[in-house]
Subunit: 456 residues, 2 copies
């Protein structure tokens, strides 16, 4: 029996096991669920062992644990791949908005409903099952495989960088595949080539000691709220160009090929506007909306705070004004250099009569861009085309996934997102679900991926 | 016996009566004190009658009452003056910060301590006592006098405009004097020639329907917080000049005489900065700080609200951003014209991708400027010079007193502030006090004022 038949035969059991997995409320954000995250880790460890993986272990970090395992008998001439995923889940609140309880998974309409079904329990279970199918039918895998599953992705993986740095011997690999990832749409595969980086900061302008009477002092001293507006306006022109000196210096320009690949991806502007309710698209001139979203850096004000914010009028002259800012960065921008550029810009453009503080805030990621011709990506693309019958779109993501850059920084390997969830599966919302046909497709895809990589 | 001797002889009783008056907690802002405001009105009515005034009456409004009285037997060739004041007081909270209870007045160090002692119970009692002294000693007053005391000044006199409009027969006068007013400092009189007007508004910019993920949508749609910053920055240049088209059109320029009068008033920049804690003075070029504070219009942001305002970072793209704005206006600017100018300016300078709403807020006053050579002011100045032994400073105030413009609009008469409180008397704060020597000086000043006006 080949792995295909094994997968077909065992599929019902796999779904039942995935339901067991989803039943564990491994919410990493909530202290009361710490034992559940540990239970999920133990479930993963045991399931890896049952699949035929070796050295399956729950390993401690300063926070939630990690599970590692491997199967390294393919031979020294075969590549070693690292498969990443996470067994923690988002909080399920508000419970009352769920059609069925989040931790009592149900199958309806060919979908498994429950918190974490799609993100990422279903996703991370796929490569375990693919390995099991091959190990149980042929006794071996075509490549050397390491498994690396974590329990703190949904809280930003705070303990992962030191863990990865201290465990490179367990993690070193020629290629990395993340089971935590999305396909473009049912039947439409994608290969995510880029993620944006992130830098977070706050600009605080201060004037008088406390809020002052606008009649007694207005006009005689500088108003920090107005000064903040002037400083912010100096960061970005009204046409959408960021005007911070040096901001674009390190941006890798989009090639014609990049732009053509982006243009191939379906884009419906009316749908884009309907999603947000914005009156019109808007952004940096010279780029399409999608290019701006995926491949151009941004500078966004996340929040403004100053003075009187209640109902009606209060004739105060505020003591201070604050703006929270995040920049989404693209390769090869550095969060530290961009912060420094903004800090220097604010200092250079500060109106008289106020003092400025520009402070880093938590929230940092390097941009991530798969190099052109990257081997693992090319293989993943070939597998997706084979399995779906259509070549994957080459896409990018405006968001940041810090673990991708942690792995790149420490192991020197660009991870390939090879996951089978979809953006419409209510990933961080009530009624999360996972498509069971994608669950099955993913298992085939991981088997073919290992075959292709092993036959190279 | 002349009025001077009468005042000397009765002073102790007057202070005791003022204490009775202060004992009534006539806090107009608090519903539970509605009966106390009425009690204060009745106290004033009875005290006016006791002083010899006629037709003393408590008159209803839609809110707290008004007290009117008159003495109109000076003859048709003598001017009629209207004396204004208020018997309601600010809330006294926080009680624990008072050295003695706010409604249990005490005399210490030649001062009467208690809520309302200075603002305006002590102030409004002065002209009543001056009239009593003259009526009890000579049986007459040198001028015709109307008294007009209200019970809602501390909540913005909402019911006063309709009351004044409906009662012009009771209020019509050749001159108006307000007992609610300040002298510059002990021993240093002032004549307030100008008050600023006020217009209040809010600018609300809207983008997407709700807050959006800055990674998924940043760069693709306009950010209302950044757009608001750009709009606000377009209202005022970084040198302090207001750049709203037409903003300064109706401003009456300062004459050389105006500037000289302002320059004569003591000004200590270090003290000004120490009061506010601002790092430096700042404002419209071409004017001194005091000219800006007193005689130039302002545009101040009172508050900013948008998106995430909590601790740390939230990578949101805000749905909307709001700025509250007040402009302090000078003669002959109109709140309505200025609002319209700002509304049109925002519309003309709105960056793409957002919608704008510019809304009036409550809080409106016309600017007030006593015309040069104004008769009542000249007489008041002469009396102050006589009583204090030094000519009054000619000052202006950055704040607004709506009742002054209500009286001007309805009766066509510029009121003269002729009050004897001082800015350091904790007017709206714990430990309010009134200087008893100023209480006595004020009585003499009102008698001399009436004499001068009657001998003209």
């Amino acid at each position: 029996m080949g792995w295909q038949d094994y997968l077909d035969r065992e599929q019902e059991r796999f779904v039942a096991e995935l339901k067991d997995f989803v039943r564990i409320p491994s919410v990493s954000a909530k202290p009361e669920n710490i034992p559940d995250v540990m239970r999920a880790a133990e479930w993963v460890r045991d399931r890896l062992t049952a699949a035929g993986a070796e050295h399956a272990e729950v390993l401690p970090t300063a926070g939630h644990p990690v599970v590692c395992a491997d199967w390294l008998h393919a031979g020294a001439d075969k590549p070693t791949i690292l498969i990443y995923g996470h067994f923690d889940v988002q909080p399920a609140e508000p419970f009352e908005l769920w059609s069925s309880p989040p931790f009592e998974p149900e199958v309806r309409d060919g979908k498994l409903w429950g918190r974490g079904a799609s993100d990422d329990k279903g996703g991370m279970f796929i490569p375990i099952l693919a390995a099991e199918a091959m190990l149980k039918t042929s006794g071996r895998l075509p490549v050397n495989v390491r498994f690396f599953f974590e329990g703190q992705e949904e809280i930003g993986s705070p303990d992962l960088p030191p863990f990865v740095a201290a465990n490179t011997d367990r993690l070193t690999a020629d290629m990395i595949f993340s089971s935590d990832g999305l396909q473009w749409a049912p039947g439409m595969p994608q290969l995510v080539l880029g993620l944006k980086g992130l830098v977070s900061l706050e600009i605080i302008l201060r004037g008088p000691r406390g809020d002052q009477h606008s009649g007694l002092y207005g006009g005689g001293i500088a108003n920090p709220a107005m000064a903040l507006a002037q400083v912010l306006a100096s960061l970005k022109s009204t046409d959408g160009t960021i005007t911070v000196e040096g901001f674009y210096d390190d941006v890798i320009p989009l090639s014609d090929a990049d732009r053509a690949a982006i243009a191939r991806v379906p884009y419906d502007e009316a749908e884009f506007l309907a999603e947000t309710g914005a009156p019109a698209p808007f952004g940096e001139p010279g780029y399409t909306t999608r290019e701006r979203l995926w491949a151009r850096p941004t500078l966004d004000v996340n929040g403004l705070t100053s003075g009187w914010q209640g109902a009606g009028t209060k004739t105060v002259h505020p003591a201070e004004a604050r703006a929270k800012i995040t920049c989404r960065l693209v390769a090869a921008q550095s969060p530290e250099k961009i912060f420094e550029a903004i800090r220097a810009h604010v200092e250079a453009h500060l109106p008289p009569g106020v003092t400025a503080e520009v402070a880093r805030l938590p929230g940092r990621a390097d941009p991530f861009l798969v190099p052109a011709g990257h081997n693992a990506s090319a293989t993943a693309a070939a597998v997706l085309e084979e399995v779906y019958g259509t070549a994957p779109f080459q896409t990018r993501v405006g968001g940041s996934i810090p673990v991708m850059t942690t792995l790149l920084d420490t192991l020197g390997v660009h991870a390939v997102m090879f996951g089978f969830s979809h953006g419409d599966e209510n990933l961080h919302a009530p009624d999360e679900f996972f498509r069971l046909d994608a669950f099955r497709t993913g298992q085939t895809a991981y088997c073919r991926l290992m075959e292709r990589l092993g036959s190279g």
